[in-house]
């Protein structure tokens, strides 16, 4: 089976706080298929964000390896990691992280300005407009982030994450700063896009209601995977499908 994201060996992450070593991830291993809609669930401090950072190539594992589309990433230089992030990954942040000086349209356009992808002006405009309509912000194209509600901002972030047509979108607690109704709408939106564009979504959350929307759930506790299950499949089968699960 071809995994779009995989780990080689047990992945550990240890933070050095002065002379104290704090293990955040204590040896996890899993694989993700193209088109998956995955929830990484667990309480605060369980290692959700750390795992997302490592598979998002914005942080490096202390040991073990993250493979993107079969490609090892540990030895890549900063420039190559940046390009890989740009071409393969999309990010949705808990606090939206929109660029405050840019309006909705420009925020969504921004990642396209960073890469080397050849795209005509018309194609770019069509694609951005399509995404804006897809996330329901057709009437807010010219609005600045501070003129939008939290849910609207996160919709902009979703469109921005999708604009480069990445294979994987990583969302770190995308509903944490939203009320529950809006949070559910956002997850539904992500799910719809996942079905329509076959984009792999990996999101972290500690909200039980949202976790259950996912097709594939990885539960963490104290830096270890305690459950790795695909909806409708027995736990054992899901674990086998997703590779070994340290501590599970």
């Amino acid at each position: 089976m071809n995994f779009i994201l995989d780990t080689s060996g047990d992945v550990h992450k240890i933070y050095q706080l002065g002379k104290v070593e704090v293990p955040a991830v204590k040896g996890v291993s899993f694989s993700i298929e193209k088109g998956d809609f995955i929830s990484i669930a667990g309480p605060s401090g369980s290692g959700k964000t750390t795992i997302l950072n490592m598979i998002g190539l914005i942080d490096q594992a202390s040991s073990g390896e993250v493979l993107i589309d079969g490609r090892p990433t540990r030895e890549l230089k900063d420039r190559d990691l940046t390009r890989l992030r740009h071409e393969t990954l999309g990010f949705i942040f808990q606090s939206f992280n929109l660029i405050p000086v840019l309006n909705v349209w420009e925020n969504i356009e921004f990642p396209l300005l960073l890469g080397r992808t050849r795209i005509t002006k018309e194609e770019k405009a069509d694609w951005i407009n399509h995404l804006i309509e897809e996330v329901g912000l057709a009437d807010h194209r010219k609005h600045k982030p501070n003129e939008l509600s939290g849910g609207q901002r996160q919709r902009v972030a979703i469109a921005r994450a999708l604009v480069t047509k990445p294979q994987i979108v990583l969302a770190d607690e995308p509903t944490a700063n939203l009320d529950s109704a809006t949070g559910e709408q956002i997850i539904e939106l992500m799910k719809r896009i996942n079905r329509e564009l076959e984009t792999t979504f990996i999101f972290s959350t500690h909200d039980a209601k949202i976790v259950n929307i996912a097709d594939h759930i990885i539960r963490l506790r104290d830096g270890l995977i305690i459950e790795n299950v695909r909806r409708g499949e027995p736990v054992g089968a899901a674990s086998a499908l997703a590779g070994s699960s340290a501590g599970a």
């Binding site: 914005i58 420039r79 992030r85 990010f91």
Partner: protein
Amino acid sequence: MPVLIKIAAKNLAQHKTKSLIIGVIIAVGVAIFVIGSSLINTASLGIERAFIDNFTGHVMISGLSADNVSLFGVQTPGGMVETPLVERFPEVLDWVNANNWTDSATSQLTGFAIIKSEDQTAPDKQYFSLLFGVDYDSYQQTFHNMSLVEGEGLASGQTGILLERNNLEDINEKLGTELGIGDEVLLTGVGAGSFNIRRVPIRGIYIYQSYSETSSFISYVDPQTLRSLKGLTLNTGMVTVSAEIQSLLDTTDIDSLFGEDSLFADDSLFAEPAGAASISGAASRPGAAAAVETAVAAPALEPAIAPELELDAGAWEYILIRLKTPLAAGSFIRAANRWFAEQGIPARAADWKAAAGPFSTTSDVVRLVLTVAILMVAIVAIIIIMNTLVISVIERTGEVGTMRALGAERGFIRRMFTMEILVIATVFGLIGLAGGVLILSIVRLIGFEAVNPFLEILFAGKVLKPVINPFSLLVTQLAIMLFSVLANGYPLSLALKIQPIRAIQND
């Protein structure tokens, strides 16, 4: 690039306060720089123009000395070294006049004298003056600053003094006299180790077209008078002193030696000799005091020694040259010095700066002080800008981290921050330029007057007329852009160190 400019402009608008702080510093800095540069240029150009047009010409030829020779003498700390003469003067003058670059040339002697009057009501008062001994006709052809307002110039072979109008007023005030055209003054100079006194009539009163405090100290005399004051005679050896003279030299009765009857009994001693201009080569400075003392008392003494005291009418200390093309000065000087070396003539050609001596040094000092002041302002401005930018980078850590996470390479971050500082430097730099030019224009319109000699040097005249040089403005704008980019160096290095993970950590 347009996207970067757009992001830069939007960021600057978003962070108005910081942009304004940096912008105002840049604008004020540029305005100070423009005004300072203008003052420096005004002073430099003014001094250069004043000296070239009025006193030194483009090139000065002088005799050789171990120390620098200026139009005001040999530049030594003690000021006791005699100014060397231009040897083989006629040959040198012929070479100068035959040169294609030469527009006009004149020769000059420089000395100092105390001016007194027999009619002064304040007998213990005296007036110190710088004397230029000039060939009046060629001097007038070379320099046009002097305008006679009363009397006449110095005809060839005629003794006399020309006084600047303000100078004459000062003399009259100080000595308690009412000297005017035709009145005589007593000039006392020091030459060959002794005092020499000469009585000359005031031939003319002049004004400078561009007056300055410095130039008002200058008075013009006929060259023979100055030669006599400086003791420039053709005497080349020891004087044979008779027993009668020796007894006078040994006397302790000063009045019998320096009484006016003895001093001015016979003016023939100082008369311009016929064919004086052809005399050359044999000039030398008698070092013995005896000769000069004899010059003072000679008419009353043994006539046999008089021929040995004949003034050296070919003795000149400087040849001052105006060129047809000022830019040719360097080439002319090189050619002249090469020719002197080939001919074995101990002379040296130098530019106006060397000729202006201490005055050009003053100009350099003023320039240095202003430059240092401007640099200090620039350094302080850079530090403030740098600190403000550091704060800005720290505040934008999350934004930069997000950009990095989204795929922005370090080059993009570098270009973005550089573009931002360039936009500020360009916009506020232009505002500063406009402000500086506006202030200078207002200053020019008001026409501030110099109230002391230092300001006169700074203003290059009585009234400040700042020079605005477009090239200097362009250089200023480019310089501020460069300084801003340099000031951005450290903050930028901080921004480039921001890792993508900071996008998460700043949530």
